[in-house]
Every structure is written in structure tokens, then in C-alpha cells.
């Protein structure tokens, strides 16, 4: 797996373990996602979220998106999640504070989620998507990624930079103590 990251070549052995890896990562992801639903403790939720994000990163690895997986781990799990945990800590007198919800609410929520999932699944199943085995597959190496970012995705890339600046200003303003 890590060799893939380094060389960009998929070793034979990975193909054999792919089902296992898929099961593991998907399992972790889905399980901890639903644990977030069930959990009533905000810190635990953050913890489960970390597992979910990690699992998703694993799935990215599995899908030949190694760069993304790394970013997911660094930025999402490493940055955003820490931010969230900070948020949790700063906004509660007691970090293990519980805010209960009623059972019926949870049923409604899960019901709505399930309904949405069901509808999406129906749509997915009814849509013919031909999976490609195309020969002109793009090389997913870091060079291509960089060149794509500065090519077709130049504007979004720069806009994202500006956005981050604005966000920084906004967040700093909102969070600082001066009235």
C-alpha cells in the first residue's frame, strides 16, 4: 500500500488483499459513522468521527487516490478534527456534557436518513453506469495532480486560497475577545 504511494505502481499482492482491505475500511467507516449517531457524548462522537475519516482515507488509498488519502489524513483528520475537538472543549463547561435527544426524534432522524439512502439506492440501481476498463487511464502521480491543479483547476485553486484568507479573517474576528 505504501509502496503504491511511493512508486505509483500497483503491486499484484494488493489485488488479492483488496477485498479484505475494503471490508476493513468500509466497516470502520460505516460502523463509526453510525456510532456517532448513537453516541450521546460529544467527545466520543469526535473520536468516532476520527475513525470515520481515517476509514475514508483508507478507502481513498484503495481507489488509487493516494494523494487524496494523505490529504484526508493530514487536513481532515489532523486539522479539521482537531479544530472540532477544540470547539467541543471551548464550548462546554464539562467536556463530557450530554445533550439528550428523545427516542422518537432519533427514530424520525434515522427514518429520514434511511429514506434518503433508500431513494438514492433505488436511483443508483436503476441507472445504467458502465464501469470502464479504459486504456487511457490517467496516471495518478503527484506530477499530474500538480499540473491539473495549475491547469484546468487553476481558478478554483486560487479562489480557494482567497476563500481561506477571508475565512481566516472571519474566524479570527468572530473568535477574538474584542467586542
Amino acid at each position: 500500500m505504501f509502496t503504491t504511494l511511493a512508486t505509483g505502481i500497483k503491486p499484484e499482492s494488493l489485488d488479492q488483499v483488496a477485498p479484505f482491505l475494503y471490508l476493513i475500511f468500509a466497516g470502520i467507516t460505516v460502523f463509526s459513522a453510525w456510532m456517532i449517531v448513537i453516541s450521546q457524548n460529544i467527545v466520543r462522537m469526535a473520536m468516532y468521527l476520527l475513525f470515520t475519516l481515517g476509514g475514508v482515507a483508507g478507502l481513498y488509498f484503495l481507489m488509487n487516490a493516494e494523494f487524496l488519502a494523505a490529504i484526508q489524513l493530514i487536513v481532515y483528520a489532523g486539522g479539521t478534527l482537531i479544530l472540532i475537538v477544540f470547539g467541543v472543549m471551548l464550548t462546554s463547561k464539562n467536556p463530557f456534557m450530554r445533550l439528550h435527544t428523545y427516542l422518537w426524534e432519533r427514530f424520525v432522524a434515522v427514518g429520514l436518513g434511511a429514506l434518503l439512502a433508500m431513494l438514492t439506492t433505488i436511483a443508483l440501481v436503476n441507472t445504467p453506469i458502465k464501469q470502464s476498463a479504459s486504456d487511457q487511464m490517467v496516471n495518478h502521480d503527484i506530477h499530474t495532480i500538480g499540473s491539473t491543479l495549475l491547469g484546468p483547476f487553476l481558478v478554483p485553486f486560487e479562489v480557494a486560497a482567497v476563500l481561506l484568507l477571508v475565512v481566516m479573517i472571519g474566524a479570527a474576528f468572530m473568535a477574538r475577545s474584542r467586542a
Binding site: L99, T101, V108, L112, L115, L116, L119
Partner: protein, 707 residues
């Protein structure tokens, strides 16, 4: 070289057109500007100078109009249209894609512009004196200028839509003016009446407009390239000759409906009752509304729609004109209120004009419109001066011998009396009224001859009224200015009116004299309009009636002398008050009955009261009954549904969310398990509704796709 000269001439004409156009636009817009400025600056900055300010602006406007008239006539210019795109509308292939704003200019336009602005200027000046000391002095000038603007808008309008906008504006501003003293009951009722009567007429106008629109499509919205919009419509239908020969039914109906607008504005027979009541407004208002502007609008419209009138419509117009003419003149004979006499006289003269247009004496009707504007405005102003000096006593029974006290006013009044009477010798007179009225009567002779049989009424009616007119005018003059004072107290207090009031009167009287065809070119100016009509193969109207030619000397002689005769009779009868008239009333059988009828305005107000007001009330009562017992439930249900729907959606954001909160809280409390802090909240409800909406939309869309 020759080409160059032609080119230069062409460009000169072009430039002239441009100048005329600009002058007319300025003349039209200046009153509006003055109105707005007086409205906003009046109470704070202009104060008592508001009147002067409005007069000055109006003066500039008048100067522009006169200049335009001179340029137009001296340059022998063709009529032209100017338009700028106003509102984009997309009516499909055959029709317009724009509503245009702009002006149409021909001889009639410039003549009327000059007349309206001139009279409006004089009325403005007169009002400075008349309205002095009124607590809403500035506001009056604001309304007056706005009114003038609306009228000018009608005159310059180049499309039906624009015409209608200004048509309504005139109605609105006249409502404001008539009800200017709204603290009093009389003006309140009068302005309401004027407004309602005008709306009745306007409904007809709109229906006519609608018929044209349905039949001809979007074309009726677009001003013609040259010629007025009705000329264009007539050309579309094959010209006036074709219309006269094979008129389609709908065109007749449309013409009559459009004419209904004129009936309302010009106070013709069925809708005439508002005009005498409108005397409740300040006298300057009467003098402008009933001479140059509002009532003139109706005649103007009739003249403009003339090209599309069918024979049946002509007949209809004539009948309306004749009825108004005769009826109003009889009423004018018996009124004792000085302004009412003038009001009914106005009605009668308007009847002349309408009859003139309808019978084809098109030019003379319009000429009469202009001469009448001068002398009637003057008469009203004189009466206003008298009333103002006589402490708002309007009843002539208390007047008498005022000529000594107010010589100048009496002079002006006298001149105008002579003018309206149409005094003349042979075919010559120094009073303009003689020419205009004569022309109309000759025109009706022609029409009557063509119709034959009962149609001769169209000739004899105006002739008889031509005898009545001098009589009642002489009556009012004699009662007011001659003889001995009947109310000594009033007489003692009367003195000559201030200069600002007298000068306009004298100017107007002068205008009434010098408007004779051999001095001022009014008639010729309108003549050209007629010529353009003639050029468009309208052989039917020839202006000077062909059949009357052999009587060309006899008829005018008849009227001119008759006028003098009746004038003398009137003065002799009423010089010393009502004695002789009452004696006559007792002696002559049947006269008493006629007198009572006329005095009660032929019971029209009663008739309307019974027929419309009472019947409407009755109908309303019936409806109410049915409603109570039949539809009530239905209506209520519908009402409740609407209310319920509004409540529901309001409640959904408001109550259901709250209800959800409260309900959950209540159930929680009932369950005894929850803390106050565990109350479900609003954002989450919002978000759940978001997802519910999403799911519903998804289901909806998926069913749509998969079937």
C-alpha cells in the same frame, strides 16, 4: 445646384420639425415641472410666491406653444409624429413590441396647444387674485398646473394608450380641483359626482379601445408614422370613404364606445349632470374646466376619432349633441344662479360642437371650440369677479345695476355676451362666435338635407337654440349689471375686482373679438387639417356645405339679426328684475310647466337617483338577501378557506414549529422525565423540514422520471 437647394430646404424643414417638436415638448412638460416644484417647495420656500412662480412657468409654456404654432403655420409644415420607445411589450408577430411615448403634431395640435396654454396662463393670473388668502393657496397652483399638463398631454398624445393615461389624469386632477374646498359638503359631492360620471364614460372608452384591439391587434398601440392614430386605423380599413360605405358592425360599436369617453368628459346628454354641480369648485376652476380643457377634451377626442366613425355612429353623435344642445339651453333660461346659467350655456355650446363634428362641420366645430374657450372663460371669470365681490352670493336675484360699480367687468361680460350670441350683419361680424356658430349651423343644414325627413331636426334644433342663446345671455347680463340694485346691502359693498382679475378678463374679451377669421388664423389653421382629410379621399365632408350655398347670404343674415333681436328682448324683459317674466309665465299657458321642468333640470338627477342609486340599492338588497340565504355559506367557506390557508402557512412557520416545541415540552413534562434544557429546538426543526422537503422533492422527481 438645384439639388443642393432642395436639400437645404429639406434640412430646413427637418430642423423646423425638430424645433417645433422641442417647443411642444417643453410647452407640455413645463406645467408638470411647475406643479412638482410647487408641490415640494411650495409650503416651505415659495409660499405666497407660488402663484407668481406658476404664472411665470405657464407663461414660458405659452410662449413655447405660440412659437411652435407660428413655426408650424409659417413653415407650412406637414403633420409629424415623434416617438420614443417607452415600455417594451411583446405582442407577437403582427403587433407592437413597444409602447411609445411621444407626440403627434398637426394643425389642430398646435392650435389647441396655443389655446390651452394661453387660457391656462390667464386663469393662472386670475387665480393669483381670486385665491388670495386661501389657506391652501400653493396647493391650488400645484393642481392647476397638473391639470393643464394633463390636458396638454391629451392634445399631444400620439397613441391610444398615452391618450388614455392623460385622459385619466385629467379626470383625477379635475376631481382634485372641483373638490378643492373639500371641507364643504357641496364640493365633496360634486367632485365625487364628476369622478363617477367620468368613470362611466371612460369605461365606454376602454371598451371601444378593447374592441379595436381585438379586431386590429397590436397595431392600435403603435402610433402611425404620420397622421393621427385614427387616421392610420381608418387607412387600415380602407379610408374614410370605405368606412362610410361599407361599415363593419364592430366599428360602429367601437366608435360609439369611444365616443362615450367624450360624452363623459364633455358632459353630453346622459352624463351631463356633473358639470353644473362642478360649479362648486373655485371659479378659476370652473373657468378652466368648462372652457378650454376638460370639456374640450371630449370634443377633441370626437374630432380625432372622426376618421373611423361610421354613418350610424355619426347619427348617434348628432343625436346626443342635439339633445344636449336643446335641453341645456332651456335649462339655462330659468336658472337664477349666475354660474349655473353659464354652466348650462356651456353644455349647450358643447352640444353645438358635438353636433358639428357629428354632422361633418368638423372645422367649424373645432373653431367653435376655440372661440367658445375664450368667451366662456371670460364669462366665468367675470362671474367669478362678481361673486367674489358680492361675498360669494351667486344668486342673480340679489344682483342688479352692478355695471356702475364694476364697469370693466361689465364691459368684458357684455362683449362676451355679444360674441356668444353671434351678432353679425350679413356674413360679416366683429365677433368670432358668429363665424363659428354659423359654420356649424350651415354644416347641420347639409347633414339634415342629406338625411331628409326627421333629419331636418338637426337643422332646426340649432337654429332655435341660436335664438335662445342670446335670450338667456341677455337675461343674465341684464339681471346682473343693469337695472336697479335689488339688494342694497350687497350693492354697497361691491367694488371693481383687483387688477389681476380684471386684466385677464379684458384680454380674454379681446381674444373673443380678434379670433374672427379675418384677424387670427385659427380657422385657417384648422382648415388645413380638413384639407388633409380631404386629400385622403374623404369626399363626404366638405366643410362649407354644398347645399347651403344658395342660402349663403340668407342664413347668416337670419342668425345675425335674430341674435340682436333676442338680445334686445332679453334685456327689455329682465332689465328691471323678474316682474315681466313672471307676468308672462302666468299668462302664457303651458309655459309654467316647461319652466318647472327646466328649473328641475328635467328631473335628471331624480331620474338617476331612482334608476341608478335606488335600483342599485334595491339590487344590493336583493343580492344581500340571496347572499344571506344562498351564497352566504359558500362565500363564508371560501373566505374561511383563504383565511385558513394563510393561517396554516403562517402557523406552520410560527405555530407548528412552536407547537412541536411546546407539544414536545408538554409531553415531556407529562412524562416527567425531561429537564427544561432538553426541549427540542428550532434550527433542528428547520433542518428536518429541509430534509423532509428534499425527500418529497426526490420522490416527486423520481416518479416523474421513472413513471
Amino acid at each position: 445646384m438645384h439639388t443642393l437647394i432642395t436639400l437645404a430646404q429639406l434640412t430646413a424643414v427637418e430642423a423646423d420639425q425638430e424645433t417645433v417638436r422641442k417647443l411642444l415638448v417643453w410647452a407640455t412638460l413645463l406645467p408638470l415641472v411647475s406643479s412638482i416644484m410647487v408641490l415640494f417647495l411650495g409650503t416651505r420656500y415659495l409660499k405666497k410666491q407660488a402663484g407668481t412662480f406658476a404664472c411665470v412657468v405657464m407663461g414660458i409654456s405659452f410662449a413655447c406653444a405660440i412659437l411652435a404654432a407660428f413655426k408650424f403655420t409659417s413653415g407650412n409644415m406637414e403633420s409629424f409624429t415623434w416617438k420614443i420607445p417607452w415600455i417594451p411589450i411583446y405582442m407577437g408577430k403582427d403587433g407592437a413590441s413597444w409602447l411609445y411615448l411621444g407626440l403627434f403634431c398637426d394643425q389642430l395640435t398646435v392650435a389647441l396647444m396655443a389655446m390651452v396654454t394661453g387660457i391656462s396662463l390667464l386663469v393662472h393670473i386670475y387665480s393669483v387674485g381670486y385665491m388670495e388668502g386661501d389657506k391652501r393657496y400653493e396647493r391650488f397652483f400645484c393642481y392647476l398646473s397638473a391639470f393643464t399638463f394633463s390636458m396638454l398631454g391629451i392634445v399631444t398624445a400620439n397613441g391610444l394608450m398615452q391618450l388614455f393615461v392623460f385622459w385619466e389624469l385629467v379626470g383625477l386632477t379635475s376631481y382634485l380641483l372641483i373638490g378643492f374646498w373639500f371641507e364643504k359638503k357641496g364640493p365633496q359631492l360634486a367632485c365625487k359626482k364628476a369622478f363617477v360620471m367620468n368613470r362611466v364614460g371612460d369605461t365606454g372608452f376602454l371598451i371601444g379601445f378593447g374592441i379595436l384591439f381585438v379586431q386590429l391587434g397590436g397595431k392600435v398601440l403603435v402610433p402611425a408614422a404620420d397622421g393621427s392614430m385614427f387616421d392610420a386605423i381608418a387607412a387600415e380599413l380602407g379610408g374614410k370613404a370605405a368606412i362610410m360605405e361599407h361599415p363593419p358592425m364592430w366599428l360602429t360599436v367601437a366608435g360609439i364606445c369611444l365616443f362615450f369617453g367624450a360624452i363623459g368628459k364633455s358632459a353630453q346628454f346622459p352624463l351631463h349632470t356633473w358639470l353644473p354641480d362642478a360649479m362648486e369648485g373655485p371659479t378659476p376652476v370652473s373657468s378652466i374646466v368648462h372652457s378650454a380643457t376638460m370639456v374640450a377634451a371630449g370634443v377633441y377626442l370626437t374630432a380625432r376619432i372622426f376618421p373611423i366613425l361610421t354613418p350610424a355612429a355619426h347619427l348617434f353623435v348628432c343625436i346626443i349633441g342635439l339633445i344636449t344642445l336643446v335641453m341645456a339651453s332651456m335649462m339655462a333660461m330659468v336658472m337664477t344662479d349666475i354660474k349655473r346659467v353659464l354652466a348650462y350655456s356651456t353644455l349647450s355650446q358643447l352640444g353645438y360642437m358635438i353636433l358639428g363634428v357629428g354632422s361633418g362641420a368638423y372645422i367649424f366645430a373645432l373653431f367653435h371650440l376655440i372661440t367658445h374657450a375664450f368667451f366662456k372663460c371670460c364669462l366665468f371669470q367675470c362671474s367669478g369677479s362678481v361673486i367674489n365681490m358680492a361675498h360669494h352670493q351667486q344668486d342673480m336675484r340679489y344682483y342688479g345695476g352692478l355695471a356702475k360699480k364694476m364697469p370693466l367687468t361689465a364691459l368684458a361680460y357684455g362683449i362676451c355676451t355679444l360674441t356668444i350670441s353671434g351678432i353679425g350683419i350679413g356674413s360679416f361680424s366683429i365677433f368670432s362666435g358668429f363665424y363659428s356658430k354659423d359654420g356649424i349651423i350651415l354644416g347641420t343644414y347639409n347633414y339634415a338635407h342629406e338625411l331628409g325627413g326627421l333629419g331636418s331636426l338637426f337643422f332646426w334644433g340649432p337654429v332655435i337654440v341660436a335664438y335662445i342663446t342670446p335670450f338667456y345671455m341677455a337675461r343674465s347680463f341684464a339681471l346682473t349689471f343693469l337695472g336697479k340694485p335689488r339688494d342694497q346691502h350687497l350693492y354697497d359693498h361691491v367694488k371693481e375686482a383687483p387688477k389681476t382679475m380684471v386684466v385677464p378678463q379684458l384680454i380674454l374679451a379681446l381674444c373673443a373679438i380678434i379670433s374672427v377669421p379675418w384677424l387670427l388664423p385659427w380657422e385657417q389653421m384648422i382648415e388645413v387639417t380638413r384639407e388633409t382629410l380631404v386629400n385622403k379621399n374623404v369626399t363626404w365632408i366638405q366643410g362649407i356645405p354644398t347645399h347651403a350655398e344658395h342660402h349663403h347670404i340668407a342664413l347668416p343674415l337670419l342668425f345675425g339679426l335674430a341674435g340682436a333681436l333676442m338680445l334686445a328682448v332679453g334685456i327689455w324683459m329682465y332689465k328691471d328684475g323678474f316682474g315681466k317674466a313672471e307676468y308672462l309665465l302666468k299668462k302664457v299657458p303651458g309655459l309654467k310647466l316647461l319652466y318647472t321642468w327646466a328649473l328641475n333640470k328635467f328631473y335628471f338627477d331624480h331620474l338617476y337617483d331612482v334608476f341608478f342609486v335606488k335600483m342599485t340599492k334595491c339590487f344590493a338588497a336583493i343580492c344581500n338577501f340571496i347572499d344571506k340565504w344562498g351564497f352566504d355559506g359558500l362565500v363564508n367557506v371560501a373566505g374561511h378557506w383563504t383565511k385558513g390557508l394563510a393561517w396554516f402557512t403562517g402557523a406552520f412557520d410560527n405555530k407548528v414549529v412552536d407547537g412541536l416545541v411546546n407539544g414536545a415540552a408538554n409531553s415531556a413534562r407529562a412524562g416527567g422525565q425531561a429537564l427544561r434544557t432538553t426541549q427540542p429546538g428550532r434550527i433542528r426543526v428547520y433542518v428536518s423540514l429541509l430534509f423532509v422537503g428534499l425527500v418529497i422533492a426526490l420522490m416527486f422527481a423520481m416518479t416523474l422520471v421513472t413513471g
